[in-house]
Symmetry: C2
């Protein structure tokens, strides 16, 4: 008998029939003697509908009230799900964030979980009930409803699994698992069987949308094994686990890309101390998140500074930067929105040199110019012209032989 936490996203519970199907699936495991905790999102489309409603009331909706409004999406799903279980003959009980209780800070619409009281859930489990928890929501110290931001239900599931010391945490979604790259771009993309938390963190932050990045961080901290899999099939998905649980580490686990950033370049900036903070403080004050930053030293105490911002913030960032450029005496500010970031991720890189060189070589062989490079222990990212994205992804996927199943390092 195991204690299993299962999370189903909005597309998995999009309508009454889908909710019933998921309920039956959960009940199978319950009948086999497992204790089941189910975390649900709002029905697909519901959160957007509520956000639209809020914007009809207030140009910039009040964040506290936004959370009161948004939390009803999950509240509806858990009640309907519990009814479906009861109709099919087992016992179930729905619990909201404040009933559990899932304590968070008071950063409305993007709150962070501080603690979870597992007592009530355990009591219901011991009473033989399937416990159905509303994802995405918590309660602040002052008793206000909070929400955890998009993807927050994943975080709820992992946090519950940690608090309950669950044997498994399964995240059900509308894809089969985590792929070596986007199958829409690269038909030979392969589902990954096992991946480390660190690799998943890099993949998640680089735009692979199967799993919310905060939930991966949480899973890593509390060593919760996550199984990402499809609601609509019974095949095994991808296990996200500790590094020592993977015997055969891949050199490169996946190739990702991101077309949502834009580049801004200062040319010929006087290279004086504090120049970076004079450029980046105003950007940060405006709430704009800078991703990559690259500085090249030129001759004559001059320097070039290039960085990327989200495309949606590009216009605003450029306006701020044009003003700064005058203040600091930069020769020019130029920008480019037609860029993409292509990255390779893999824990195997840590102990193998030459991976970066291989990546640069492959891109150059395809006549793709690299504009920016950034690296971490287990990731190499290159900024290239947007139009080459698909070509680059396929070439890298091929070159690192990601279409071949779990190739152990020893044989590479």
């Amino acid at each position: 008998m195991a204690l299993i936490v299962q999370k189903f996203g909005g597309t998995s519970v999009a309508d009454p029939d889908k909710i019933k199907a998921v309920a039956l699936r959960v009940m199978e495991l319950s009948k086999q003697g497992n204790q089941m905790v189910v975390v649900l999102s709002a029905m697909a489309g519901e959160t957007n509908r509520l956000v639209d409603l809020a914007h009809k009331m207030q140009a910039i909706p009040d964040q506290r009230e936004m959370d009161v409004l948004l939390s009803i999406g999950e509240q509806a799903t858990v009640a309907l799900f519990a009814m479906a279980v009861k109709e099919a003959g087992l016992d179930a009980v729905s619990l909201l964030g404040d009933q559990v209780k899932i304590s968070t800070d008071s950063m409305h619409t993007k709150a962070r979980i501080k603690s979870i009281n597992a007592d009530l859930i355990k009591r219901h489990l011991n009473d033989g009930k399937i416990v159905v928890v509303a994802g995405f929501q918590g309660v602040s110290e002052s008793g206000d409803i909070t929400t955890l931001g998009r993807g927050g239900s994943d975080t709820t599931a992992v946090a519950l699994a940690a608090a309950l010391a669950a044997d498994q945490c399964e995240i059900f979604t509308d894809v089969e698992g985590v792929y070596t790259t986007d199958p829409n771009i690269c038909p030979s993309a392969r589902k990954i069987d096992r991946i480390t938390y660190d690799e998943m963190l890099e993949l998640a932050s680089l735009g692979a949308k199967v799993l919310d990045i905060r939930s991966v961080g949480l899973a890593k901290r509390y060593k919760v094994p996550i199984h990402v899999r499809s609601t609509f099939t019974n095949t095994q998905g991808t296990w996200v686990v500790e590094e020592d649980k993977i015997m055969e580490s891949m050199l490169v686990s996946g190739v990702t890309y991101n077309k949502n950033e834009a580049r801004i370049t200062f040319s010929r900036v006087p290279d004086t101390p504090g120049i970076a903070s004079r450029i980046f403080n105003p950007i940060s004050d405006a709430g704009i998140v800078v991703d990559m930053i690259i500085q090249n030293t030129r001759a004559g105490d001059m320097t070039d500074m290039t960085f990327t911002v989200p495309k949606s913030d590009y216009e605003r960032a450029m306006k701020i930067m044009q003003k700064i450029a005058e203040d600091i005496g930069a020769e020019s500010v130029t920008g480019d929105t037609k860029i993409a970031k292509v990255s390779i991720v893999g824990v195997g890189m840590r102990n193998h040199s030459g991976i970066a060189t291989t990546m640069f070589h492959i891109l150059s062989r395809e006549n793709i110019n690299i504009m920016m490079i950034s690296t971490s222990e287990i990731k190499i990212s290159c900024v290239i012209e947007e139009k080459y994205t698909e070509l680059a992804v396929r070439a890298l996927h091929d070159a690192f032989e990601l279409d071949k199943a779990n190739l152990p390092l020893e044989e590479s």
Copy 2:
């Protein structure tokens, strides 16, 4: 400066524009220096939508989960309303039943309020906020969400007014107030300016749907003056108050009718002790509510027994009764669904004889046969053939001169 509780029903907050209009109306009074507590229902149609959803999941939806589901209707309205107030420049905060907190028993879908903690509301009022409370919902001792049944938002408003010792409790609805009778039947029906709690209780239970009957009982107990009025105009509505607050009591305050009942008659039942309980126990066990009961003694230790049940329970009740009839040796059981109950209500009756005689006389003058009669201190009801309903209502309304404004008893 007054503390005012205002309740707006589903048609008053049916869409974003209507919510904004109501918010502006509440803000007017706030700007004049009043402390405002607003109680809101779900948007019109929303509760029915949720009930339909529940029935798609479970033939007889689980009552606890039903309450979890239903309570989201009011939760949405209060969040949107608070946003509307903030957008228009004042401060507001939404509160749910469990946040207030409104403690109830655990009779899900028809819970009763046990106590209300007014502290949090007072704190927010003193901070200069408009407090927006979700109607219809509370929290049980075990921390489960409960709902108060249809019309429950009226009860929430009156209970809050009592707990806060509010100066006024205004119930906004889609009609101008309480009328002497149904204006659709009787064009000379007149809006009543003031009516006693007892009269309103009789009117509410007889089918005048402007105000939930439980809220009137609560208002009477805690002496909360209620002002029933229209959301869509500024005219004064009807005040429901203590009897000694009304200087000029009317002999008859209103004429009501109810077409939702059916009649069942046992003929020639042996008149032995315990016969009534042998008839009515099985009915009550089946959850059927009996309204009027009339027993006539016949010669020879035989008796006739007639009673009314809701039309929707008629078939079920007849089946049960046919079986009982055999057991107790009744000659026959007959029934009639084409009946109506017409009633006159007025505290003035208490001290004036002859009102009943006048009523019977008027009906007989119109050739309307009276099948059953029942009376209380301030009410006389007659069951007649359904087809005469409108004629009877108009004749009684005319005869008791209800079209004339507040006629004092002294002049009658």
